[in-house]
């Protein structure tokens, strides 16, 4: 992480005269190239794994929405339509790598191996983060937009300082990309050559606000040029392309060649969250069009055509999905509220005298409630 101290910026030097000036223009559209083909190295086994994770993810997502309707979750942010972007991206990670998700990446986080019941704690209201970040090398699902991107950069900087060949991958959305923190993260990652991969899921909306009101840029990937790091724009509904693009970025980071910004263009098929009403801001036609590009069905079709999966495998995955859904119902319905006294236990490593006093007050309230 040692960075050379350079001499001053040197730029265009000209002094052409009194009625002639000179300058360089940045092309308005930036420098996004045409889509180019890349070979991707995925075995049949891996392709099946990808399908399995996407199909399970879809089932988990549907079950979560149902659990919300039934009151077992307070709210849920669906990933339907974004399975390829999320699963394809996390599939490019190695065991020791770290993931920094948002509230939107439940299925990517699930695909990374986090137990689905622990994962949904945020939405069930049992605790903010229900899993152990160190166990899974996954940071908490984060709601303040773009903030976790900086955490990923910091962790990647630390790994570089320690000479650990690991990579941090962070997701954020097209909306979050407008936040100052997103810029600071991209720029700092560039300066330190931090081994981090930024995966922007451009799903066309930030709640009700469509992409064209979010930025004038034709692509979020163009932000990369502004901070001097590589950028990639990929079809976020094509899991192989997402995997290939993110793997390229992950490999680059692991090699010590610094960060990459990958924009995966996709679409959120469901509402922003279960509390949202899409009819206020987008047409059914639009959603229908995107349903035609459903990443799970699309992938299954190609896999079947390629003879990579057969009916038995698909049925097996379906059964596994049902079992997972059953587990969600079993553990999330009427899950115990937990002991309210615990709210005092994790504020600091050790409880302060003031917290002891407050805990005693709550204790007394709880006892009074029991008595009456």
């Amino acid at each position: 992480m040692s960075v050379e101290v350079s001499s001053a910026a040197s730029g265009p030097s000209s002094f052409p005269g009194l009625s002639q000036a000179a300058w360089q223009d940045v092309a308005a559209e930036g420098a996004l190239g045409a889509a180019t083909p890349h070979d991707v190295d995925l075995s049949a086994e891996q392709l099946r794994s990808l399908y399995r994770l996407m199909a399970l993810s879809r089932r988990v997502d549907r079950q979560a929405i149902n659990l919300t309707r039934q009151g077992a979750l307070g709210v849920f942010a669906s990933s339907q339509g974004q399975e390829a972007a999320q699963v394809g991206a996390v599939f490019a990670l190695e065991a020791d790598d770290w993931l920094f998700p948002t509230y939107r990446e439940t299925v990517g986080t699930f695909a990374r191996g986090v137990d689905v019941v622990e994962l949904l704690a945020l939405f069930s209201g049992s605790w903010h983060c229900g899993f152990d970040p160190y166990k899974y090398r996954v940071a908490p699902l984060t709601t303040p937009l773009a903030t976790q991107a900086l955490h990923a950069v910091g962790l990647a900087m630390a790994a570089r300082i320690k000479h650990d060949p690991i990579v941090a991958l962070t997701f954020f959305g097209d909306g979050a990309a407008s936040e100052g923190d997103a810029h600071e993260a991209l720029n700092m990652a560039g300066v330190y050559g931090a081994p981090v991969v930024f995966v922007v899921q451009n799903n066309g909306y930030a709640i009700s606000v469509p992409y064209r009101l979010q930025t004038k840029a034709s692509s979020i990937a163009l932000r990369a040029a502004g901070v001097g790091i590589p950028g990639i724009r990929v079809d976020g509904n094509d899991v192989v392309s997402v995997y290939g693009a993110v793997k390229t970025a992950v490999d680059r980071a692991r090699r010590g060649d610094g960060p990459t910004l990958v924009e995966a263009v996709t679409y959120r098929l469901e509402a922003h969250t279960t509390a949202d009403d899409t009819s206020r801001y987008r047409s059914d036609d639009e959603a229908t069009e995107w349903r035609g590009r459903d990443p799970v069905e699309r992938f299954l079709r190609v896999l079947r055509e390629g003879g990579v999966v057969d009916d038995a495998f698909v049925a097996e995955v379906e059964a596994e999905g049902e079992a997972t859904a059953a587990r969600m119902r079993d553990f999330l319905f009427d899950a115990p509220a937990g002991d309210p006294r615990e709210m005092f236990d994790h504020v600091y490593a050790a409880r302060t005298p003031q917290l002891d006093i407050e805990r005693a007050l709550l204790e007394q309230e709880l006892r009074a409630a029991e008595e009456s």
């Binding site: 303040p144 407008s178 009700s208």
Partner: protein, 324 residues
């Protein structure tokens, strides 16, 4: 007409925009969606996209551009979608919004309003139930307002929009659905005045925003169950604070407590307790007590009711006040 607090706020925005062309409303999802709580519902349709529009997700940007708009003579009313997402704007608010009149030696006033739905009690996920009033109230140059009733929501928001200094307008989101019979436009005391919502003699309960309802409920129960007559004072304007009304009540009853959802330590209630202890010294039969949320990050939905002050916690404190 019966209106919810959200409806009263919506009416206040609409009436202000109708009366004054220079009022513009913007923020995340406030346009086409009408806001995640529908407080801005219908404004874009009626007023057009120049007067009510959506922004990129950029809270510093929202606050910073509002400053620029106010500098140019508009009266921007901007929304932070949730309390916990008002923090990215704190630098703009503390460094500039609060200080601009003073920085410019009085030459530039900033007539702008930052609306923030705040507080807990709605079963939300983390970062959606914060009570940030102390940060704002401590910052010289800000006027901080929080209504406790639909009528005040209407009257205070209209007054804030007409105000010539920046107002942080804290909307108690768990009371958005609180209803009241209203004849618009309602009259109410102006910004800077507290109000006695219920007269009493046993002790004074000082509250604002979401806790006004809770304090009134406690007062009803105190009277019914214990025969205690609590005087409930609604602060209404957190900064500048109407200490006169508070001191008058506390010296009358001789006992006072202040209640809020926010954490206790260096919370807003500390100011009231400290100042009452000084100004009503000699009149107080007991120390001023604070009934507050705990000094912990706001907890998850399943246990939030144990964090939030309720009538029981207030009555318990009144009992302690009476034991002195």
């Amino acid at each position: 007409m019966e209106l919810t607090m959200a409806g009263a706020l919506n009416a206040a925005l609409r009436d202000s925009m109708r009366d004054d062309d220079s009022v513009v409303v913007y923020g995340e999802d406030v346009g086409r969606l009408g806001g995640v709580f529908r407080v801005t519902d219908g404004l874009q349709a009626e007023m057009g996209t120049d007067r009510c529009f959506d922004t990129p997700v950029a809270e510093a940007g929202i606050a910073g551009t509002a400053l620029g708009m106010a500098l140019y003579g508009l009266r921007p009313v901007v929304e932070m979608q949730f309390d916990g997402f008002s923090y990215p704007a704190l630098n703009q608010v503390i460094s500039h919004v609060a200080k601009y009149r003073n920085r410019t030696r009085g030459r530039v006033g900033l007539p702008l309003v930052i609306r923030i739905p705040y507080g807990g009690g709605i079963g939300a996920v983390e970062h959606h139930s914060e009570s940030p009033e102390a940060y704002y109230a401590h910052t010289a140059g800000l006027t901080v307002v929080s209504p406790g009733t639909p009528a005040d929501a209407y009257a205070l928001l209209r007054a804030s929009i007409a105000f010539d200094d920046p107002v942080i307008f804290l909307e108690p989101k768990r009371r958005y659905w609180l209803k009241e019979e209203l004849d618009l436009p309602v009259a109410a005391p102006p910004i800077g005045e507290a109000i006695v919502r219920r007269e009493g003699t046993t002790a004074t309960v000082i509250a604002y925003g979401p806790m006004v309802t809770t304090a009134l409920e406690a007062a009803t129960r105190a009277s019914d169950e214990q025969g205690w007559e609590l005087e409930v004072v609604d602060v209404r304007t957190l900064s500048p604070l109407d200490m006169g009304t508070l001191v008058a009540s506390a010296t009358k009853t001789g006992r006072a407590l202040v209640v809020h959802e926010a954490a206790r330590f260096v919370g807003y209630g500390a100011e009231i307790a400290a100042e009452l202890s000084e100004r009503a010294f000699g009149y107080l039969a007991a120390p001023v007590l604070r009934v507050t949320g705990f000094d912990v990050p706001y907890p998850s939905a399943k246990i939030e009711r144990h964090f939030l002050p309720d009538a029981d916690r207030i009555l318990d404190a009144v009992g302690r006040l009476l034991e002195y």
